[in-house]
């Protein structure tokens, strides 16, 4: 990890003929290792944040993660591994090649747009975790929450604008410090707990393998868990930073897949062994749940240390989301002129700084509304419904593009060919559609409100942010906004 990033202008033109084949090293071009990319992918998708909420389900948490892994994670990972081993640039390029360029723009727009509402909620969680460490009373203070969100987000923008290398290093470090090490500690302590002869707090017998079936509510829980794995494809935008992308990306993806499963399942189980479900309800927060866990071992002082580690993981994950979709948006916009030249400008590190700044301004406004307008913060959860609906459009387009690319470009060099691709894509499409439909079922937070009103709100958000805004960009585009860039872009790489 001792080299620089290069501007996009220094892209590897040698890759144009065969983008996914191993390219000769070009002076100035820097690379990242496949393991770094695996860590970035894992960091984007998984952390320990979900462990307490899933521990409530006890042994059924395994089912709730494994079934979605079969029908959503495996199709997503294998299909994106094939696509990334054949085409640089990530989801916009796959969809552009497989369906059309406007659809490619729609795909990357949806991937980008949904993150705008993700950051304030993620950083509000960081703020409440920090508050627990410093002074718990701060968690209900709007000014404190606003300051934390704005300062951390803009710090993230600043780090991202230094290039992919800085992001790769911090995201990998965040994963190791904030997820892998504390996750291992949780699992070891969990086994120690059982090894001491204590009975598991959650029943671990065969009758608890399946979750409770109560009809629609259970279906909502199971299907919504498909989305636990969303984001696996996002870091494919960095594929050309690998020395040998056609071989290394699949390796990176499979490693990330294994890590994500381990991070989700084992810590949740460990927490369920030690802390009874009702105690988790008493603890009223992620960090408080870990406090309960550590208190059983008389190492409560580990809780604030753990809190800081969780914050590191959350911020590392945020950096990958800042760096990924905005880069994809830039690449297609430069080729097709979908964004005004101002937004296409690169800084001296070859990073889409103006897109990041524009995103930062919007996020700042949303964060201030979240922190200071009670009606916004109380209803903020609905944005996570809308944004996940928007994200599902990406998957629908990706799976459709993969099927078409096998048909229209069967001989295009691919370093990895997913087995039974059509089956994988059909399963992925059906899973995505199921999640899209389930997204219209009102959740707990909506209470006893009108179902029609709920469907109306979600549909309006989906149409407005997911379709109308990219349509406006598309119709307002100008040929003069196009930049002279390689049709087969290879991005600035990093060394890690």
């Amino acid at each position: 990890m001792a080299s620089m990033d290069v501007p996009a202008g220094g892209r590897d033109a040698a890759k144009a003929a065969s983008p996914a084949t191993s390219a000769a090293r070009v002076p100035g071009k820097q690379y990242m290792s496949w393991l770094t990319l695996a860590f970035m992918t894992t960091s984007s998708v998984a952390s320990l944040r979900a462990a307490p909420s899933m521990a409530v389900y006890g042994l059924a948490a395994v089912f709730l993660y494994v079934v979605p892994a079969i029908v959503f994670l495996i199709p997503t990972a294998l299909v994106s591994a094939e696509l990334a081993s054949g085409w640089n640039g990530g989801v916009y390029r796959w969809v552009s090649e497989g369906l059309s360029k406007p659809m490619g723009f729609l795909a990357v727009w949806c991937q980008f747009a949904m993150t705008i509402f993700y950051y304030p909620s993620l950083l509000a969680y960081v703020a409440s975790t920090f508050a627990y460490i410093i002074d718990p009373r701060l968690a209900s203070d709007g000014l404190y929450v606003a300051i934390v969100i704005v300062v951390l987000f803009w710090t993230g923008v600043w780090v991202s604008s230094r290039g992919t290398k800085a992001v790769a290093g911090l995201a990998s470090g965040g994963l190791i410090i904030g997820t892998l090490i504390p996750g291992a500690v949780l699992v070891i302590l969990g086994f120690v707990f059982l090894g001491q002869g204590n009975p598991s707090a959650a029943p671990m017998d065969a009758s608890h393998i399946l979750p409770q079936w109560t009809g629609l509510a259970s279906l909502v829980l199971i299907v919504n868990n498909f989305l636990s794995y969303s984001g696996m494809e996002m870091n494919a935008v960095h594929v050309s930073s690998l020395r040998n992308p056609d071989k290394e990306f699949p390796k990176s993806m499979f490693t990330a897949m294994g890590l994500v499963l381990l991070i989700f399942i084992l810590p949740a189980l460990a927490v369920s062994w030690v802390v009874p479900a009702h105690d988790l309800s008493l603890t009223a927060g992620v960090i408080q749940a870990f406090d309960a866990f550590f208190s059983y071992f008389n190492v409560g002082w580990l809780t604030p240390v753990f809190g800081v580690m969780l914050v590191a993981a959350a911020l590392g994950g945020m950096l990958t989301w800042l760096a990924g979709p905005s880069k994809g948006l830039l690449l297609i916009s430069r080729q097709e002129g979908y964004l005004p030249p101002f937004l296409q400008q690169l800084n001296r590190f070859g990073v889409q700084q103006n897109i990041l700044v524009a995103q930062g301004l919007i996020t700042t406004v949303i964060a201030l509304l979240y922190a200071f307008i009670p009606n916004v913060s109380s209803a903020y959860w609905i944005f996570s419904v809308i944004t996940t609906q928007i994200y599902l459009i990406v998957y629908l387009l990706m799976f459709a593009a993969a099927i078409r690319l096998r048909k229209t470009q069967p001989d295009h060099p691919r370093g990895y060919r997913a087995p039974a691709l059509h089956v994988l894509c059909v399963v992925g499409l059906l899973s995505s559609l199921a999640a899209l439909v389930i997204g219209f079922v009102p959740s707990s937070q909506f209470g006893g409100g009108s179902v029609l009103a709920y469907v109306g709100i979600v549909t309006s958000g989906l149409l407005l942010l997911g379709l109308l805004v990219p349509y406006l960009f598309y119709t307002l585009r100008k040929p003069s906004w196009r930049q002279h860039v390689d049709e087969n872009p290879a991005e600035a790489g990093v060394d890690a």
Binding site: G169, S230, L282
Partner: protein, 152 residues
């Protein structure tokens, strides 16, 4: 070896990135130390012990597993901690609602229909630690939709 502009830039970048990494680690360590100091300065009080005993009894009467006494003291103190700290506050409600979600920890996080007992133990705790805020608590969370999604 000839020192090219590229090499110089690379060195500058490496140096800058090193400072970003070092700065991040220093900040994390500082916050961890502050957290440990804060954590260890919290003291058990007679009132906290008394409240924990009351809650243990109420939980047992309601048929719920009773957590370790020290854990209750540690988690809820003598004032109910986060449960009683302005339960009607919009930001507190937003965080509580954000916890009733699927198993995602990234942008795939999405609300679900939570288990009907998700707040029952918490409601008992509020009635013990800050009964004056029980109305506010139930107004904030009682209107949410629940179902039996956890196998008992």
């Amino acid at each position: 070896m000839k020192r090219t502009a590229g090499n110089m830039k690379r060195t500058l970048m490496a140096s800058e990135h090193r400072w970003i990494y070092i700065g991040s680690i220093v900040l994390l360590v500082v916050f961890a130390v502050i957290g440990i100091i804060q954590y260890t300065t919290l003291r058990e009080t007679a009132k906290a012990n008394d409240k924990a005993d009351q809650l243990s009894k109420q939980l047992a009467d309601a048929g719920y597993p009773v957590p370790d006494h020290d854990l209750i003291v540690r988690t809820l103190g003598d004032d109910g901690a986060s449960l009683c700290r302005d339960p009607g506050n919009a930001l507190v409600k937003a965080q509580a609602k954000a916890a009733l979600v699927n198993g995602a920890s990234g942008p795939g996080t999405r609300p679900v229909i939570a288990d009907s007992e998700a707040i029952s133990a918490a409601s008992l705790a509020v009635s013990v630690y800050c009964p004056d805020k029980l109305g506010e608590f139930e107004k904030a969370y009682g209107g949410l939709k629940y179902d039996d999604t956890v196998k008992k």
